[in-house]
């Protein structure tokens, strides 16, 4: 799935710097992993090894923490992460459909896979972003899109890709997008902003 090609090269000095900033006792485990993930988008094995060898945190403790909290990922992610909100309000207004639509746009068919084969986008389900009155909501990179129907999500993703020089794998969807008639109602309702 091209996931290995997404693996990050870990900068040892950077990891050491985070350790210097956050301390090396047990309570630094979460902030250290957060710093690593901030930089690389996931937790590369190499970075975790460095933390274990340079701090008082044991491998079992660090791995235990990394696998307990839903924020942490052990696999590489695409260049952009799409967070699909699955809060209560989003659920009742059709958040599942956003997943279906986005997976279609990104050509992801295999169960359990959430990153597009070209490494562009990763779909992630999140519990609640807290913009309930804009439900259903998704966040692409750091741009929030609200009041989405499935087709709106595809269109917003397309726009995001165009603006950021990404392309979506698969050609059928591109064709469909070019052909699809302009939808009136949902387009005017849809809100979008660049942050």
């Amino acid at each position: 799935m091209g996931q290995n090609s997404l693996a990050a090269a870990v900068d040892k000095l950077l990891v050491k710097q985070w350790i210097a900033e956050n301390g090396s006792d047990a309570s630094a485990a979460v902030p250290l992993l957060q710093a690593v993930q901030n930089e690389y988008g996931y937790l590369p094995r190499e970075a975790m090894d460095i933390i274990v060898s340079e701090t008082d945190i044991t491998a079992s403790q660090l791995f235990g923490v990394a696998t307990f909290y839903s924020q942490f990922r052990l696999d590489p992610v695409g260049r952009y992460v799409i967070k699909v909100c699955h809060g209560t309000a989003c659920h009742v207004s059709g958040a599942d459909r956003l997943n279906t639509a986005l997976r279609q746009s990104l050509g992801i068919t295999e169960e359990g896979v959430d990153t597009a084969s070209n490494g562009s986008y990763t779909i992630e389900d999140v519990a609640c972003i807290g913009c309930c009155s804009l439900a259903p909501v998704m966040v692409v990179g750091d741009e929030t899109f609200g009041n989405l129907k499935g087709a709106d999500a595809q269109r917003s993703l397309k726009k995001h890709a165009r603006r950021h020089g990404e392309f979506l794998p698969g050609h059928e969807e591109e064709k469909a997008e070019a052909d699809a008639p302009q939808k009136k109602s949902s387009d005017t309702k849809k809100k979008e902003v660049r942050q």
Binding site: T88, R97, G130, A180
Partner: protein
């Protein structure tokens, strides 16, 4: 030209930004180079985002809603003496209050500053009377015991959900032995559908910080942590700035305001674990472990973070404190009811006309919140139920909407006060699906320590999935109920003890929907994918082929412009509903 805008204030909470607030801000700045531009937190009228207040040169204020780049010129033309007042967008002005019901029916104590001040300005908070409460305490040398007494008079109970009296909790820690004590601000707002803590931390961080100072003084803590969800980047940023500015101004650190009182705060970002809303799990998380709860006693108030006496207070609880000290505990106690004093903030969402943050006095009925403030259903369909308290709460049916908002009264319905999520649902929401949704959530979030919670929630989820798929039996419903009671009775922490609530309340009030799924193989709301089919109706179809292009599984075929040829292959169809959404002629029937 006295109507000319002198100041333009744009609401920039997370939801405002998501609705386009930054773009609106930039457009105003470009169009009005001479006006003063300001940003404030979210005033809570999410249904009106983006919200802009224009203050003209006479000092008159106009509050506009649903502002976007396109309608700014027409709004402005009135203020430039050219066009008409845009009454469709006007929420409130000195002479017009039509759209202001939403605000005037609330009682704003906690949210007193949110949406009124620039959250990044310590100066503005002080101008509005901020930090006067802590200053008064230190200046008049009011004893910690007196503060606890005052909070006891106020009668405030923990706003995180459980409703334990704040003053009682404090007095345990006050009297606990120990050289060092900790105060933790719990901002790990994990309930899907609740965002009051986010709004407070984003929109009025200093009032939370001042609340922390008061609490720390009362219990004798010198160090504090603010545990904030990492999913709330703006809240982390604003609270971080508040801490820095306060430290600079001598409001944090040693010898606060020149008196013999020391306290400092550090932010800890949560990493995404619902169970960390539980006190002992939150402590484990700050200590750097997996966030798993432990047996109580000893209670954190006596033995908590790093083994020291620790108080954990919810963001909303803390944001009440400065008001209580300034206005007295008895003034606070006058609001609300005998058992539940003060106000509660709710996040109103779902199929409601005016959604957003609302702060109401305790004792107001659910119906008043939904109809008088929320304006009723947004879909035209009657409101069927309201979900209170998220995964730990339950669904209250329409017949119980006259229940007052009080801890005990809400508990009696099987729901809970909770942290304040209030999700409104109409006939198109399936109650079995809602129960399954919450069980899926709690099952994933169960830390795995207790067998009943770890395995019980999984079995419940399996049973619910079976029922939603149309494969359930009547016996499954009984089993579900039995396991629900066992999980409730046998779990260590609040997560497991309350996880069955969504199931138990829907079984209690909407059992007919469960039975319809099982006996009639029918989902009355048309939600459960295993029980619905999608069919194209040739009499409405135009043969445009848009559904074919959006179908993710290629289940739709037909010839362009020949409606009678279009069919959905039932074998391939996954009932995702994409075709219904994109169809321009309402030609797809769901049954």
């Amino acid at each position: 030209m006295s109507l000319q805008p002198a100041t333009v204030i744009v609401g920039e909470g997370t939801c405002g930004i998501a609705a386009g607030a930054k773009e609106v801000f930039n457009t105003f700045r470009a169009l009005l180079p001479n006006a003063e531009m300001k940003t404030v937190g979210c005033v809570g009228m999410c249904h009106q985002e983006v919200i802009v207040e224009i203050i003209d040169k006479r000092g008159e204020a106009f509050l506009y809603g649903k502002v976007d780049k396109k309608n700014i010129p027409s709004i402005l033309s009135y203020h430039q003496g050219e066009g008409e007042l845009q009454t469709d967008h006007l929420i409130r002005s000195a002479t017009r209050m039509d759209g202001a019901d939403y605000l005037t029916r609330q009682t704003r104590i906690v949210l007193r500053n949110v949406g009124q001040l620039d959250p990044k300005s310590l100066e503005e908070y002080r101008q509005r009377g901020g930090y006067r409460a802590i200053e008064k305490i230190l200046k008049e040398d009011i004893s910690p015991e007196r503060i606890i007494e005052e909070v006891k008079t106020a009668g405030i109970r923990g706003r995180g959900g459980a409703g334990f009296p704040t003053a009682t909790k404090w007095s345990f820690t006050r009297s606990a032995e120990g050289d060092e004590k900790y105060l933790i601000c719990n901002g790990d707002e994990g309930d899907p559908g609740a965002f009051m803590d986010r709004s407070l931390l984003e929109g009025d961080p200093h009032s939370v910080l001042e609340g922390m100072l008061i609490a720390a003084y009362a219990i004798g803590a010198s160090r504090g942590y603010a545990y904030i969800r990492a999913e709330y980047p703006l809240a982390v940023e604003h609270f971080g700035k508040a801490i820095e500015d306060a430290r600079e101004a001598g409001l944090l650190g040693k010898n606060i305001l020149g008196y013999d009182f020391a306290f400092d705060v550090k932010i800890k970002q949560g990493a995404g674990a619902f169970v960390c809303g539980e006190e002992t799990a939150l402590i484990a998380s700050i200590e750097g472990s997996r966030g798993m709860p432990r047996i109580r006693p000893p209670f954190p108030a006596v033995k908590g973070l790093f083994g020291k006496p620790t108080i954990i207070n919810n963001v909303e609880t803390l944001a009440n404190l400065a008001w209580i000290i300034e206005n007295s505990g008895s003034a606070y106690a006058e609001v609300g009811t005998e058992q539940s004093r003060g106000t509660k903030v709710f996040a109103l969402a779902g199929t409601i006309k005016r959604g957003g943050l609302v702060e109401v006095p305790m004792g107001m009925t659910v119906r008043q919140v939904l109809y008088d403030i929320g304006g009723g259903s947004s879909t035209g369909l009657p409101i069927k139920a309201v979900q209170l308290g998220g995964p730990s709460g339950g669904c209250i049916p329409e017949s119980l909407f006259d229940t007052p908002i009080e801890y005990e009264a809400l508990n009696a319905t099987g729901a809970i006060m909770g942290s304040g999520g209030m999700v409104v649902m109409d006939a198109k929401s399936c109650m079995v699906d809602i129960a399954r949704y919450f069980l899926e959530f709690t099952q994933i979030e169960s830390c795995g320590k207790c067998t009943f919670c770890r395995i019980g929630t999984l079995r419940m989820k399996e049973l619910l999935t079976r029922i939603c798929d149309g494969e359930g039996t009547m016996e499954d419903i009984d089993t579900l109920e039995e396991i629900a009671h066992q999980v409730k009775a046998s779990s260590l922490c609040g997560l497991g003890q309350t996880a069955p609530n969504p199931v138990l309340t829907t079984l209690r009030y909407f059992r007919d929907e469960y039975v319809a799924h099982v006996e009639e193989n029918r989902c009355p709301a048309g939600v459960c994918k295993g029980l619905i089919t999608h069919t194209i109706m040739p009499q409405s179809c135009t043969g445009c082929s848009i559904c074919e292009r959006y179908c993710p599984v290629d289940a739709i075929t037909g010839v362009i412009k020949k409606p009678e040829t279009w069919v959905i292959d039932k074998e391939l169809c996954i009932n995702c509903g994409m075709c219904v959404e994109v169809c321009n002629s309402d030609a797809i029937r769901v049954e």
